[in-house]
């Protein structure tokens, strides 16, 4: 074998291109995959969980269309507060502005901070359930032994699909005492 190869090809181009792919994929996780997940969640309403404040809309109230809205409360993991809806159920008419509230009491011996996370069933109704005021928008501190009523004002968009007759809204209460002060990540 006497044949000589051409001058060895430079590996630099291949290595740099590959490294660019690697860096791009890391950025992809943080800046594309994660935002895309939230965009899809928001668009479909699938998690039933919106934190956005909605403006009250001047809808015409559909008095002939009663929608049952049920309220549930769950304590997450080790959360020790008493937490329950004041009204477990209301009849809402699309377009109506309705105020309800949840009761919370910190029966523990230490001062605590809580965060409520909403979830709504059926998820197809999520984007038609407008919360103009919600205690889930903010963290709730309570001193030991203190209690409070936390408000929720909502309005149902009259475009709500016809088949939806009942909406169930559940709040999970998380203990964020150690993590309080940490801002919720921007979506």
């Amino acid at each position: 074998m006497t044949e000589q190869t051409d001058a060895p090809k430079s590996h630099l181009k291949v290595v740099l291109t590959s490294l660019a792919v690697v860096v791009a994929m890391v950025l992809f996780v943080f800046y594309v995959l994660r935002p895309m997940y939230y965009l899809i969640c928001e668009w479909t309403g699938i998690t039933g969980s919106t934190f956005e404040t909605a403006e009250a809309q001047p809808f015409e109230v559909q008095t002939d269309r009663p929608i049952r809205v049920q309220f549930l409360a769950t304590n997450n993991a080790t959360m020790s507060w008493q937490f329950r809806p004041v009204q477990t159920e209301v009849i809402a008419h699309p377009g109506e502005l309705i105020q309800v509230s949840y009761y919370a009491k910190n029966a523990s011996r230490r001062d605590m901070v809580a965060q409520a996370v909403p979830s709504l069933t059926p998820f197809e109704a999520t984007n038609y359930f407008l919360k103009t005021e919600c205690f889930c928008f903010n963290q709730q501190p309570l001193a030991s032994g203190e209690d409070t009523e936390m408000g929720l004002v909502f309005q149902i968009d009259p475009d709500l699909p016809d088949w939806v007759k009942t909406i169930t809204l559940t709040y999970s209460l998380f203990d964020v005492t150690t993590a309080s002060g940490t801002a919720r990540l921007d979506k």
């Binding site: 590996h11 291949v14 590959s18 997940y37 969640c41 997450n76 919720r184």
Partner: protein, 528 residues
């Protein structure tokens, strides 16, 4: 391909290997580094195997006999992590190091120093991971899929070491992959055109692209965990507005291509061995290449089939179900080609061929149970049961692991210059074959009957099949000691091997003497 007789009187230009430990520590030689990778993965195979034996011993009978449930969870987690990242992946990188330069007629890998680095960070990663077993709070106990918040809010303190170990493994894999890509793109011998590349080289090239695409995703997801645990972010913490389901999406966006990273090189191995022992050319070479590329592409759009039960919308279930079933088409093309290669061939059944045929049969069984799992409505029943365990062990053990064993028997004469003992090899095969099936086949039944995975105790109606499964596992585990013996026996006392010990084998690797000299193809061979 022409055969070339390589001239080995070029000692003036090259010194031989360094003496003693320095040879291995500072090696930039693809053969030495390949050997290091292979021995390392062999060691991890036994470590992960010991964890598996603990699991099967505890499950031998219902009730809690040997270990605490908390320790059992650490065993399932460590078994999965060590086998995936320590045994299977480094074994294939070792094979790539040894064989790719020999197969394409290159003198070494493209980036020899990076090659050294990518190997030598691995022992540190696994030492760190294994050391968590001795830490307060124990080793990671959240399963190899480390779903948040189990792996964040509720994780033992050792999770931080786990995260850094995964970072190091990822860096190693990325460097290894870049090396493979640069080698295959730039260093093919003259005349070695794309469609003449041996299939093992093709499958590794595609695997390397998968690696550089998804290992950064894995690094990203563990970095998010690290930030959630230590820096107060809430990527996966619902209380802070994050989402545990996001974790699963990001993890499986890595995790599904990862399973093809573990099987595509196996396809390459059996595509080399089956033609050699059928004494025929591989049937449908180009369709094999396109099928491999199709599988790689599809692997990016099927990840949510691992998550059918988290509550994705109906349209999503439908899309991921159909996309997943689509993978059966290129995989079916491959199985068809292997079977057709054997059809009317003059077959002989040496150990590498036995492992390869078992691969085709048993991997196909694993593929079929995968199709069952792909059916979204059915998956609601199968999800997180032993049926899933049976499925992925069928594709990984008699799939990936059998192909690695086949490769070891097939190329051991080239690596060591000596033949293994055929009787011992066949004994090892039959023990492994029986062991694997006795272990994992009953797991289909107990899974369908409803036994959940990752539990240390179970309802009594599953007792018989679990005992059978454990006996199979002990048999399979013990027969790997025979494998270790065979490898050592070959290296120490095997009969001298010819340059081409398999008369039907093809490829440039058989044109160099056995054992392959320290430096090969300094002058590139001519391929026509």
């Amino acid at each position: 391909m022409t055969t070339t007789t390589h001239d080995h009187h070029d000692d003036h230009a090259h010194h031989g290997p360094a003496k003693g430990l320095a040879r291995w520590l500072f090696s930039t030689n693809h053969k030495d580094i390949g050997t290091l990778y292979l021995w390392f993965s062999f060691a991890m195979f036994f470590l992960g195997g010991v964890f598996a034996m603990v699991i099967r011993a505890e499950l031998f009978q219902p009730g809690l006999q040997l270990v605490e449930p908390a320790f059992f969870n650490q065993m399932t987690t460590m078994h999965g992590l060590v086998m995936v990242f320590g045994a299977v992946m480094p074994a294939f990188v070792g094979l790539a190091n040894w064989m790719i330069p020999l197969m394409i007629g290159a003198p070494d890998m493209a980036l020899p120093r990076m090659n050294n680095l990518s190997f030598w960070i691995l022992p540190f990663a696994f030492a760190m991971l294994a050391s968590t077993l001795f830490m307060e709070g124990g080793a990671p106990n959240f399963g190899w899929t480390f779903y948040a918040p189990l792996s964040t809010t509720y994780a033992p303190p050792s999770v931080t070491f786990f995260i850094f170990a995964v970072h190091i493994m990822g860096a190693s894999s990325i460097m290894g992959a870049i090396n493979v890509i640069a080698t295959i793109i730039n260093m093919r011998a003259p005349g070695m055109t794309w469609m003449k590349l041996p299939l093992f080289v093709w499958t590794w090239l595609i695997t390397a692209f998968l690696l550089i695409a998804v290992m950064p995703v894995l690094a990203g997801v563990v970095t998010m965990m690290l930030m959630d645990i230590h820096f107060g972010t809430a990527f996966f913490d619902a209380a802070g507005g994050g989402s545990p389901v996001l974790f699963q999406h990001v993890f499986w966006f890595f995790g599904h291509p990862e399973v093809y990273i573990m099987i595509l090189p196996a396809f390459g191995v059996v595509s080399a061995i089956i033609p050699a022992f059928s004494r025929k050319k591989l049937f449908g070479y180009s369709s094999m290449v396109y099928a491999t590329a199709s599988i790689a592409f599809l692997s990016f759009i099927v990840w949510a089939h691992h998550m059918f039960t988290v509550g994705i919308p109906f349209a999503g279930e439908l899309f991921f179900m159909i996309a997943t079933m689509l993978i059966a088409v290129p995989t079916g093309v491959k199985v068809f080609n292997w079977v057709t290669t054997m059809f009317r061939g003059s077959l002989t059944f040496e150990t590498p061929m036995l492992f390869s045929i078992a691969f085709v049969v048993l991997f196909t069984i694993g593929g079929f149970s995968g199709l069952m799992l792909a059916v979204a409505p059915a998956d609601f029943q199968y999800h997180d049961t032993y049926f899933v365990v049976a499925h992925f062990h069928y594709v990984l053990v008699p799939g990936a692991v059998f192909s690695i064993m086949a490769a070891a028997y097939y190329w051991l004469p080239k690596w060591s210059g000596r033949m293994y003992n055929e009787t011992l090899g066949k004994t090892h095969f039959w023990l492994s074959f029986v062991g694997v099936n006795v272990t994992f086949f009953p797991q289909h039944f107990i899974g369908l009957a409803g036994m959940p995975r990752r539990i240390p105790d179970y309802a009594v109606q599953f007792a018989d099949f679990n005992m059978v499964s454990s006996i199979g596992a002990f048999l399979f585990g013990a027969s790997q000691l025979l494998f270790l013996f065979i490898v050592i026996h070959t290296i120490v006392a095997g009969k001298k091997a010819k340059a081409k010990p398999w008369d039907g084998a093809e490829g440039l690797e058989w044109t160099v003497p056995s054992p392959a000299p320290f430096h090969t193809f300094d002058t590139p061979p001519k391929v026509d």
